[in-house]
Amino acid sequence: MYQDVILDHYKHPHGRGLRAGDAEVHHVNPTCGDEITLRVKLDGRTIEDVSYEGQGCSISQASASVLNELLVGKELAEAQRIQEQFLELMQSRGRIEPDDAMEEVLEDAVAFAGVSKYPARVKCALLSWMAWKDATAQALKEAAA
């Protein structure tokens, strides 16, 4: 499960720290105490920044770092597709073997394929992604209001 890519992101996280944002959320995984505070800043339909602070296991920390690397600068529609594909991968219980097409979309995030075999850890990998989805929805609502 601990691919080098994951360990790298864990030890050298991308974009960690809280910066200005349009919306902030705080998510908790009550069974293990993983926590994340995450902010999203949009520029129209483009993701200008995802900043975060949290504590938790290597999987949840690395996943947040990968998310930052993957989503910042992307169009919202594209980011949502990535998020959905990541979710599908994580819920596959190890049944999806990532191919080139998937790697094209998910880049470093395909390293989490092995985690999907461990039901107890899937929630860790998804924590930041659920937080991002939630924060983005809030930011869009604010923008619309």
Partner: protein, 418 residues
């Protein structure tokens, strides 16, 4: 290394436990250090289960055919065995439940529905401690919510023991019940029963002891404890899942109202009203966990065969050794008492900044099974400002070699995330 004093002949004992030969992750023999969560089962218990189902299975009580008589004798015989195991004055004081959680909920519910002098209501107080398992917190929170009673608790000292400095303020004339854990499943702490019981008796409060982590590991004498109720659970004491015990004083069991209603617990039923069987049957609604009680009887025979004092001595030796060796690991902080005195064989710790989930997972890759998380005792984690711990917990088949494997494994974990 010189052999530790007090160790059992684990080579012989381990032969009784088929699962200890299990290998994981490409041939690594499992090092099972998750005994506080549940114990493994010896052949003798599995044989008792099979024999029950293959030769004697029937529903118990009231049957006039051979199988029903045999099943009843086996089920009630298990009650005799459990009664003897905890030195109960009477077999009728042993109630079979499905687990310790049901036992504790049973007491909480009886007290909520009881008449005076036992009744818990808005003018009364319930006392627990900050180191309880959720199964000894939530039932009392629910009772407090439903009755309006006030829930109070003893806090913890920095070194993982009960803070009883405010004993007389926490337990007061309003206290109707005091419920506490004998041995903590997260800290390993062995609590001072006498001081609490004395104060409870002074104010006339009932005493409930959660012995889930005591019954498997040391001689348990309900009379010496002087408690009113004692709860424990079969699966942690080499018995099957699906069976728990509530021991209660005869007079109390007679006075208190039933909890679950149904077959077996009645004396006579009409559509308009029912009367109830005497204890223990009053508290055993429906077809009981028959095979599981029989299995628990075999478990108790197994443990008694070895001797609970010997089991305790073995675990004490292992715990002392493990505490010493773990404290050699850099950045390892023990959460709970750091010496083996008044302490059980569950050892929680943190390892630098490495999250327990990662510790546990990387240990697992080496075949070492520990538990990580809040161990159903989240208030303890809150108290010590940590999100979770890694917990290694030992039992009668644990060896010093397994302690060494754990320590080596932790070194590997440190390097892996270093």
């Amino acid at each position: 290394m010189t052999p530790l004093p007090g160790l059992l002949d684990t080579e012989a004992i381990r032969k009784d436990f088929p699962i200890l030969d299990r290998t994981v992750h490409d041939g690594k023999k499992v090092v099972y250090l998750d005994n506080a969560a549940t114990s493994q089962k010896p052949r003798q218990v599995l044989d008792a289960l099979s024999a029950y189902y293959e030769r004697h299975n029937a529903n118990v009580h009231r049957g006039v055919h051979v199988l029903a008589e045999e099943a009843t004798a086996l089920y009630e015989g298990a009650r005799d065995k459990v009664a003897a195991f905890v030195n109960a004055p009477s077999r009728d004081e042993v109630v079979f439940t499905k687990n310790a959680s049901e036992s504790l909920n049973l007491v909480a519910n009886m007290l909520g529905f009881a008449d005076e002098p036992y009744r818990v209501d808005r003018d009364t107080e319930i006392v627990i401690t900050e180191m309880e398992h959720h199964s000894n917190i939530v039932p009392w929170q629910l009772l407090a919510q439903r009755t309006g009673a006030k829930l109070k608790w003893f806090g913890l000292t920095d070194d993982g023991r009960l803070d009883l400095s405010d004993l007389n303020e926490v337990i007061t004339e309003k206290t109707k019940v005091v419920s506490f854990v004998l041995v903590s499943n997260i800290l390993g702490t062995h609590n001072p029963v006498e001081a609490i019981v004395r104060r409870a008796q002074e104010v006339g409060a009932l005493v409930v002891v959660d012995a889930s982590q005591a019954a498997p590991h040391m001689p348990l004498d309900v009379q010496a404890l002087q408690a009113d109720f004692v709860a424990f659970t079969g699966h942690k004491m080499v018995g099957p899942t699906g069976i728990g015990v509530l021991w209660g004083r005869k007079g109390l069991l007679d006075d208190l109202p039933p909890f679950l209603g149904g077959g077996e617990m009645i004396e006579t039923v009409s559509m308009h009203s029912s009367t109830y069987a005497p204890a223990p049957h009053k508290f055993e609604a429906g077809t009981p966990p028959i095979a599981q009680a029989v299995g628990l009887g075999a478990a108790v025979d197994y443990l008694s065969g070895i001797g609970m004092a010997a089991v305790e001595a073995h675990e004490h030796a292992i715990t002392e050794y493990a505490l010493g060796r773990l404290q050699e690991v850099p950045d390892l902080r023990i959460i709970g008492p750091t010496s083996a005195e008044d302490r059980g064989a569950a050892i929680s710790f943190t390892l630098g900044d490495i999250h327990p989930h990662d510790v546990g997972q990387v240990l697992d890759e080496q075949g070492i099974a520990v538990r990580v998380g809040h161990h159903c005792a989240r208030p303890v984690c809150l108290r010590y400002g940590i999100p979770a711990t890694t917990r290694a917990s030992f039992y009668l088949y644990s060896t010093p070699g397994e302690v060494d494997a754990l320590v080596d494994g932790l070194e590997y974990v440190r390097n892996f995330f270093g």
